[in-house]
Point group: C4
Chain length 303, copies 4
């Protein structure tokens, strides 16, 4: 993208002068399709399974720092099994976006997710943040796809950007590789279809809800800049967001990590929140594939 | 300003020795004029509309980082429309300080603000923080003025400094360009008139109330250093500040951003706070132009 | 101090090897003298008046950044007058540690403090943090002394370290200049007498209570790394600390800044906290000079 | 470890390519042995006694910064004595991991811990964070051992990593020196036995519970990035974690520091939390040696 190159050369003023006078995301607003079967809103229940790759992506030498690694390793030893048990108890299916490295290093954990009938999505291989011009973009996507297929027999339909960044090159690449939806952007409360720079349609977006990212609520690690929130605080935040989105007829997307939400105190509040949401009776708790399929069907009916 | 140059040359001690022994802001305290029609206090209800320019101002290459951009893009897709709807429901008029870039990139969003009868203020073009000696100061102001005029037919009366910084050169420039008031300083709870370095009067200041800056309450972005506050916490802070200022007979100024306060959980609490304030019956909720006009009229009567 | 020089030369291991195997502060524990007249504990009510010098100390060029300056300027325009009014209403005397620069730049504010009968203490001239080997140490102390004397006629008895750091050289200097007490260290809940490196007695210390430093509770500025605490949270913290210290028979020391605690929402909670403390009837709310004098008298009686 | 060296040479992609596709910690899950005498869960009550060494470990020149030092010095003057008194009142024994430097500089404090019958563990000498390839690893361990033996007559059985990092070299070293357990990793809620890189068994691990690290709850120091949590917030977090772990039949490990939890407001909440835990009647509050011995006995019975 020539425009982007111009933005980083020649100093601040030259870069600002080169900025397009256009929205960075030119996708039009999607039609407000109704949710299935009388539901007022939807919750895309999803987890990001990074394990140690959350910590090695920026500095692989940290692999030798065994306590830092143990934050990630908690996922395989405790966090994911406990979350799977919770989902079984509540009768819920979720989407787990898993890095290829985690599949290679912790195959039993991933097989257990698959065996319980949850959807498995693509989350890169080494959890490298996808940035414009990054030479690892293609390898991250293709090695992730190859690993999910070889180790789990899975051809993923959904993708979540590791560390939550994106670029045009990646939008094109994911479409080319046959992915159906992404869940990475923060600019809507409804599904919409991406519009690529060449004006062709891209993947379906199931936008992320920032306040449901447990990494931002403390407890993720000792170096976190965030102070720990209590259960009462998190539940206040989560129910407020859900209640308002329900009034709007929109959707929320959780971005939970077994190394955070699999910790005892966090799992306790997640249980309470999911039970609360189920008791509402009119919020459709669904996987990404289910929501994307519904959106695509609505698109088709409308066409 | 020769004094300022001396402050940054020659090391710390030389800089400290060169510091004037005078307040940085030499404006005298303003008379405590009464508020209109028996009101005990005033609330300047204002929003800063930055969209993507909040993120590109320091590094335009981020325009290609599509998730970071999507925090800003939320304003046009969801945040601003939802806030406009809330203001209609409550029968309130507010001031929206909009960057020129946002007007160019999101004209429909800005036209909707204008159509609803809200005041539109100046907020720079690229959201570049105005610092002493910055070579972009004049261009930021003039290109912003030109854009508001050409795209919206607006000649703004008020200005809010992007990223909340200011300098003498800007005070002079805004006066020269005919602006009437700014809302950027943090040193008072009443309107006052600036005094320029040449001892002539400057614009009217409607001081900002830091605790009403939603950017500081978490949720603005995943890189925020602030942990998310709950609705109960924000309402406690906001009502405490309002209650005390009301006893003092002063004013508060909100600094809300559609990419924060347009989020579902934040809009929910803003609705509650505005309804609470309206129910007090003696707080004048007004635009910047209304408050500045009132202050200027009082000045005139007193002269 | 030769030992200290060795600590910073020759790399980490050499520095660690050179560390003395001794407490950094060798002052013995003080006798637990009773508080006057049946009081169970003491509260040293003190304020640090930095104004703009809180912001220029590390980078004087910021003097031209007028919004940053306005955080400090709030002290003279609003914060200090409002706090003085509160203290009058409650019938309390406090100690105000004032930088020399603030006296020069805001003489009326400082004269009002003096006129109300509060104690005025030394807080440096430019608010430069006193660090070992700093060439400005002597000038900061002497210029502060000279300014307090010339502008206010005050010979201060107490000193609080700007930005809360200290070194042996400063302990010696303050003793030489005739200061009686400091209130800067964080290692006790009772007054004690410093022991200098040459084994002679130093000043009396009235230790600071970190949780009463309002700079750490948010609201100090937009760049603060701290998220804003609510009134309920601050009161919980402040009353917990006071209650436990009261059981211990110790003292607490507030470190409040008019640019924080003079803000409406913070003044509101300070009023509530001081009224609560007064209602306890057995906490001696006093100035630093009063507490130091009491300690010195007890020392004398015990000798 | 040749693999680790490869990770830090040749740029990001080369490092990522060299990452083993294996868990960083290959220890198998331990059997879920029952706790003694009908207890449902265990609490390993432990403190880290760093004193000034918490601050000098990275920069020994800070030894001359006397206020920074005074945060650490609080341990000897007030924090540890008050905590010992609390433990006596509650009839509890705990483990204190003490740096060798603290033993040398504050022998009376350490003798008092020993005299009260608490377990003393190894916490390095200078509190240097153990990182892969660090040339001080051996000296830190051996000088710590020598100091505990010479000054206190203690041969420690347990070790906690200063600043909470670890590496393979250290696992081997501690086994070689005869240590029995460590309490440093964050990847489980039960004791387990380490598996070394050469496939031989290592020490027993008593995993740390991050939310019980008082350093992360604010109050540790003025430079802390964490905002202060109230007693109500900390108790909510601590009881949630304990309650869920109790349902799981696991263990929690406190990581408390006398310079934090020995502060009045923190000691108050610790008293309340320990009384609450004691009242449960089915949580085994124990030292590290007791829990490690129990685990080893279970291992033996199972073999």
């Amino acid at each position: 993208m020539a425009a982007t190159d111009a933005l980083s050369a020649g100093g601040l003023k030259a870069g600002l002068d080169a900025l397009p006078l256009l929205p960075a995301n030119r996708a039009p607003l999607a039609t407000e399709y109704p949710w299935p079967a009388g539901q007022k809103a939807a919750m895309f229940l999803s987890f990001d399974v990074d394990a140690e790759s959350a910590w090695t992506a920026k500095d692989p030498a940290r692999y030798g720092e065994l306590v830092t690694m143990s934050f990630g390793g908690y996922e395989a030893r405790v966090g994911t099994p406990k979350l799977l048990q919770l989902l079984r108890e509540l009768g819920l299916k979720a989407t787990f976006f898993i890095t290829g490295w985690s599949v290679e290093a912790h195959p039993a954990m991933c097989e257990a997710i698959l065996k319980d009938g949850h959807e498995i999505g693509h989350h890169g291989f080494h959890h490298v943040m996808p940035q414009p011009g990054d030479p690892m973009l293609v390898e991250e996507v293709d090695r992730g796809l190859e690993t999910l297929k070889r180790r789990l027999g899975v051809v993923p339909r959904g993708y979540r950007a590791p560390s939550g960044e994106f670029c045009e090159e990646l939008r094109v690449l994911l479409k080319d590789r046959g992915l159906v939806y992404t869940s990475s952007f923060r600019d809507d409360v409804r599904p919409y279809r991406h519009l690529l720079a060449d004006d062709t349609p891209g993947l379906v977006e199931l936008p992320v809800t920032a306040c449901y990212d447990d990494w931002l609520l403390g407890l993720s690690q000792r170096y976190s800049r965030h102070t720990l929130l209590t259960r009462e605080q998190v539940l206040s935040i989560w129910t407020d967001e859900l209640e308002e989105v329900r009034d709007w007829g929109g959707m929320v997307t959780t971005v939970l990590h077994p190394q955070c939400s699999g910790r005892p105190m966090r799992l306790k509040l997640l249980r309470e929140f999911l039970q609360h949401t189920q008791a509402l009776k009119d919020v459709w708790i669904a996987t990404g594939a289910e929501i994307a399929d519904h959106f695509i069907a609505c698109e088709g009916n409308a066409a």
